[in-house]
Amino acid sequence: MSDNAVRREWPLWEIFIRSQHGLAHKHVGSLHAADGASAISHARDVYTRRNEGVSIWAVRAADIVASSPGDKEALFDPAQSKVYRHPTFFPTPDGVKNL
């Protein structure tokens, strides 16, 4: 595909759907659309046909800042050896429900 053809494509959008009130928006996939309004309506047509959601977010894929896979060790490995950060060393008081 030539550079020209790439530029003529609709930009890519990442779609996030909230399945019900109180829950967070969740990434469901991506699609192409000319602008924000059409991204929302395309998302409605592609990702909510079976009653999946009550709210849609569309974000230009180009606007998402992502961590680099090459930085994985530096970013995430140090957390592996710090089990004390997990709240599993506290006895649960008797009579406390829903903890």
Binding site: L31, H32, A37, S38, S41, H42, R44, D45, V46
Partner: protein
């Protein structure tokens, strides 16, 4: 149908149902051929909405007629001259701009029709209209958006949209012409009088055409007859496809 005295309620319901059925069939032809995956899905969704509406109208039509015909009998075993859809809707899909213009002209009329039908004196009609109106609110939003996007797009897309509009415009005149069925139906309060939607429709169309930088075609006579069963040759071809299975294998079950 040989009966010269038409049942106005049955006829009214056929007009409502056949519009949805014929347009749904036309949009279904785009399935897998849309200009982008997203558009393909969107158009197919609209087609399915309309098919659902056609089922509701035609089922009720069959009950009102009382001859034991259900939605399938009405959809698959009537001939062209028994169809009551608007002529616009049987016009070929053409290029995508033609399809968008046809859809926009119909959607913007359909929304006003359904809004009026929710006030029908027949509770079943009002209930079906209420359900359909919510779907059509999205249809008209979508087709209006595309009118603006393509009309106010490139010079080429603008010119093609303007040409589509000029070609299809003459098919909108018949929507507002009252006939005997329409008069009886309006008198009973089942459906609005045909002419009563004219001003609201023009206002909706004008607003979108202005944003789309498209010129409203000058009025120059129009095609009529769809609601009375006088159709263009296109309907026959469309029904050949639509009805093939039931014609070739009568009573075939899915």
């Amino acid at each position: 149908m040989s009966d010269s005295v038409l049942d106005p309620k049955f006829e009214t319901l056929l007009r409502l149902g056949d519009n949805c059925l014929v347009l749904s069939q036309q949009l279904g032809l785009w399935c897998g051929h849309g200009p982008a995956l997203e558009e393909d899905m969107a158009l197919t969704n609209v087609a399915l909405d309309l098919l659902g509406q056609a089922r509701l109208w035609l089922s009720y039509a069959g009950e009102v007629e009382g001859q034991g015909r259900d939605e399938d009998a009405l959809a698959y075993r009537r001939d062209g001259f028994e169809f009551r859809n608007l002529l616009l809707l049987e016009q070929p899909n053409g290029h995508y701009g033609d399809t968008v213009v046809r859809q926009f002209l119909f959607d913007s009329w359909h929304q006003h029709l359904l809004a009026a039908l929710t006030r029908s004196t027949d509770p079943r009609i009002a209930a079906i209209a209420d359900k359909a109106a919510r779907e059509v609110r999205y249809h008209v939003e979508r087709s209006s958006y595309l009118m603006v996007a393509l009309g106010d797009g490139t010079a080429q897309s603008h010119d093609r949209m303007q040409a589509s509009l000029e070609t299809l415009w003459p098919y909108t005149g018949e929507w507002f012409e009252p006939d005997a069925v329409d008069a009886q139906s309006a008198k009973a309060g089942w459906a609005p009088a045909a002419g009563s939607l004219r001003d609201a429709w023009h206002a909706s169309v004008d607003a979108v055409l202005a944003r789309a930088t498209l010129a409203k075609p000058a009025y120059a006579g129009h095609q009529r007859g769809g609601r009375q069963g006088l159709h263009s040759e296109h309907l026959g071809h469309l029904l050949t496809d639509l009805q093939f299975l039931q014609r070739a294998y009568p009573q075939a079950q899915w």
